[in-house]
Amino acid sequence: MPETPALVTVTRVKDTDIVEFTQSKILDEGNISEIGNILNDLVDQRPNPVILLDFSNVDHLSSAALGMLINANSRLRKKNGQLRLTSIKPQIFEVFVITKLNKLFRIYANRDEAMESFT
């Protein structure tokens, strides 16, 4: 059993890596950096990474977490990858709207819709 709970779970479904944030808060600098590393590894592993980020459990996140997502997205785009975000709670979605990151990321209400959106 791990000493510290995992920050994310990664499940491969067909060609998509589904990354679910397991904690309710994405605030701690160390955690954000670790999640960033995990996402970067997923991007680097494959020629055309396809990643779905599931925010079902997330109640709080900081601008540093947004920065980490932006970095991962930029890295992925360089490899012609696809990234989708899903199951974002309304109060977190508002953070995306205020920062206009809802225009940068493709956000879907649920996993099925997000999965269908991959080309």
Binding site: L27, H60, S63, N71, V95, V97, I98, K100, L101
Partner: protein, 179 residues
């Protein structure tokens, strides 16, 4: 690794007018005193350390919860406090443990007021690029300030940007704050 034997976590109460003279309370004090004033402020000085910040944030948020703020207002205050503390510790004090962050806070049923001051070089608000503009959307900075201003009722900078004062009024859920 970051243990410094700080005694700076103990709060002390000051009157509303006291936060105008930050230098006089810059020393760390375990004394708690209550002075007359409109609103009682609690003053806490912490080192530039995220763990100390987390503890202080928790203490402030517990008070906000105690006063029965709505989920939405609570979210706003948590977010703004988090961003302001990161700004002070990381961007202001550059994680220098010798530098302190002073936090004056007052939590009442009507409003929450937070005054956060670091010992860094300060910044000019107008020089922070708009992170929502097309060319900056992929950059990683400026969003903390944007979020603070979007979620709080009132935000002021002083002392060359080393100090931010922010207020959240406990109104029935305010319309969404779009930037």
């Amino acid at each position: 690794m970051v243990s410094n034997g700080s005694h700076g976590h103990q709060p002390r109460r000051t009157s509303r007018s006291n936060h105008g003279r930050a230098e006089s309370a810059r020393h760390e004090s375990a004394n708690t005193s209550r002075a007359a004033g409109d609103t009682d402020f609690v003053t806490t000085v912490i080192p530039s350390d995220f763990a100390a910040s987390r503890e202080l944030q928790h203490r402030i948020i517990q008070q906000v919860i105690h006063h029965g703020y709505s989920e939405r207002n609570l979210f706003a205050i948590k977010l703004a406090l988090e961003e302001a503390m990161i700004n002070a510790i990381k961007h202001g004090n550059k994680l220098d443990m010798k530098k302190k962050v002073r936090v004056d806070y007052a939590v009442t049923p009507q409003h929450v007021e937070l005054i956060i001051e670091d010992e860094g070089p300060g910044f000019h608000r107008e020089q922070v690029p708009d992170p929502t503009s097309e060319e900056n959307l992929c950059k990683c900075s400026g969003r903390g300030i944007l979020l603070i201003e979007a979620y709080m009722s009132k935000v002021e900078y002083s002392k060359g940007g080393r100090r931010v004062r922010m207020i959240k009024f406990n109104q029935a859920d305010t319309p969404s704050a779009h930037g």
